[in-house]
Amino acid sequence: MDISFVILVEMLYAIASLVLISAGLAVVFGMMKVINLAHGEFMMMGGYATITAVGLGVNVFVAMLVIAPLIVGLIGLVVERLVIRHLYGRLIDTMLATWGLSLMFIGLATMIFGNTTTGISTPIQGFSVGDYQVNGYNFFIIVMAILLVVLLYAVFKGTRAGLIARGTMQRSDMAAALGYSPDRIYMATFFCGSALSGLAGAILAPLVGLVPTSGGAYIAKAFITVIAGGPSLIAGLVSSAASFGFVSQVFTFAISPVIGEVALLVAAVILLRAMPQGITSRFFKGKL
């Protein structure tokens, strides 16, 4: 009984962290058809922003949930204006340029923070279930992921901005013809996407020792989750995070965490081979 509870929590945690890791990338890709390969570095910067803010005496939750997303969102805004804006419609070129940006951010972070591991302790205590110790912070991540998905859904479904965003997603030319400047929509989207990346980086920061190259660990997973999700933003994100999270946890429990990671990657290859356009090209068609 206890063990199955622990496994369930671990499973949900794995799925939740995939959702968090991928959300920013999914929004940017879904809306703008831009793959931001500096996404991992945006997360890394979110982590550093949190740690720095906490070091300056800011409450840890304020640092995580407010300061980090804002700072990374603003960095994203600058990046969009200076680089991405010039490359819309050129998928591969944006990937290459953002890859370049990711290297630049790694270099900058190394120069500022040094090539050493920094971290903060988790702000939530663990507790035990029977004989097992459960990390309380995992619950926080699960809750945050659920909140994030609900929030995304509410914004897209319930607000005017969300409606415009969905319209742009379908036909950016038509949205433009109706008088909505794609330029400004893209700018706003990239800000939101970057802020989400910053948020994810901040929330996950207490769990990992942060180094300037930390982003590399996230980008591949996020990239895979988003691409495997396919055309529908939220349904794709949740369904592919659920599949990959499930597979990797099964193998983690059965064999080892590293094999779990490898299993995730192998699952991605198989999934893309079977459904080249992603999960939501076959299931949940037409959903958000």
Binding site: I35, V83, H86, L87, G89, R90, L91, I92, D93, M95, L96, A97, W99, G100, L101, S102, L103, M104, F105, I106, G107, L108, T110, M111, G216, A220, F223, I224, I227, A228, S256, V258, I259, E261, V262, L265, V266, A268, V269, L272, R273, P276
Partner: protein, 341 residues
């Protein structure tokens, strides 16, 4: 062989003979060797990306595989000739399987990118876990993140005691690069190469003309991987150790940067880009003012934004303009833009 092809070969031989003679006076052969090896690696991606339109995010996987296959088989065999052959053949074979899986699945563009990237990561993660003594192939322990040291390095074929190292290794690598370059030239002039370029330009049309696009892309992909494997095997000989960082994403990124900076759709561009940037990185490594990852990133961003055709085509058209000939060649980049327009 036509006259222009003969002239091309003679030019290549003359220029490379001069370079091989002169360069060691300017730069140490130890550094030069690795520049030549990177040049070969750059050419391998330049071939499949620039002429085949296949953007592989995991060219480092083949480089690393070539190096590991060489190291493992050299330990088991105790001489270097067969391991060199194995490094090329097995890497190409692996790419053949991977390519067939991708191209017969009609995967393109970004999906191709994901799969090649993921395969690189799988290899990287897997090799990293093999630290324990139970992971061994024959007499070779995989060694996890510590890598494999102490294998037999390059020797004169048939005489395992006669090592080729130092200056001699440089000359062997340089000649190998010239041979590979000439083979690539020949391949691109052949029907196979011209058909590959046709496929890069328009897959559907080529299929409607009766060409088996998937098969041809698979074969080209495997050839590129074979060249990368050869570069990897030479690298193993130069470094005298192989480590999992050969498979890293950073390595893949660098190969792509070389091609962009040097110029896609040319044979020379990726080689020049590779050697030039690797040398730049080497020079930057000697100072600690500015982090060299930062500079590499900056170089990539600037080229994508301002000089997307790369150096070699840009210089080429400058040259043509200055001698008064009209540049007939289109920008090498169009094909990439067209695919995602």
């Amino acid at each position: 062989m036509t006259r222009s092809a003969t002239r091309d070969v003679i030019m290549t031989l003359v220029v490379s003979a001069i370079l091989i003679a002169v360069m060691p006076m300017l730069v140490g052969t130890y550094t030069l060797t690795v520049l030549v090896i990177y040049g070969m690696l750059g050419l391998s991606l330049g071939l499949i990306w620039g002429f085949g339109g296949i953007l592989c995010f995991g060219q480092a996987a083949f480089f690393g595989l070539g190096a590991y296959i060489y190291a493992i088989s050299a330990i088991n065999i105790g001489e270097s000739t067969l391991p060199m052959i194995l490094a090329v053949a097995l890497t190409a074979g692996f790419a053949l399987l991977l390519g067939a899986m991708m191209f017969y699945g009609r995967l393109t563009d970004v999906y191709l990118g994901v799969i090649t990237l993921v395969v690189t990561l799988i290899l990287f993660k897997f090799i990293n876990t093999t630290a324990g003594p139970q992971y061994k192939i024959g007499d070779a322990r995989l060694g996890g993140f510590n890598g494999i040291p102490g294998f037999q390095t390059l020797n004169v074929p048939g005489d395992p005691g006669a090592y080729i190292w130092g200056d001699a290794l440089f000359y062997v690598c340089a000649v190998a690069l010239v041979i590979v370059f000439l083979l690539v030239t020949w391949l691109l002039r052949s029907s196979f190469g011209r058909i590959a370029v046709g496929i890069r330009e328009n897959e559907t049309r080529m299929a409607l003309m009766g060409y088996d696009v998937a098969a041809r892309k698979t074969v080209l992909f495997a050839i590129g991987a074979g060249i990368a494997g050869l570069a990897g095997a030479f690298f193993a000989n130069w470094a005298e150790i192989v480590t999992p960082t050969l498979f890293s994403l950073g390595q893949s990124a660098e190969i792509i940067i070389w091609c962009i900076v040097g110029g896609l759709g040319t044979r020379l561009g990726p080689i020049v880009g590779a050697a030039g940037l690797a040398y730049l990185k080497f020079m930057l490594g000697q100072q600690s003012m500015i982090d060299n990852t930062l500079i590499m990133g900056l170089v990539l961003v600037i080229f994508v934004l301002f000089l997307p055709r790369g150096l070699v085509p840009a210089i080429g058209s400058l040259w043509q303009a200055s001698v008064g000939r009209t540049a007939r060649r289109r920008p090498a980049r169009r094909m990439r833009r067209a695919r995602h327009g």
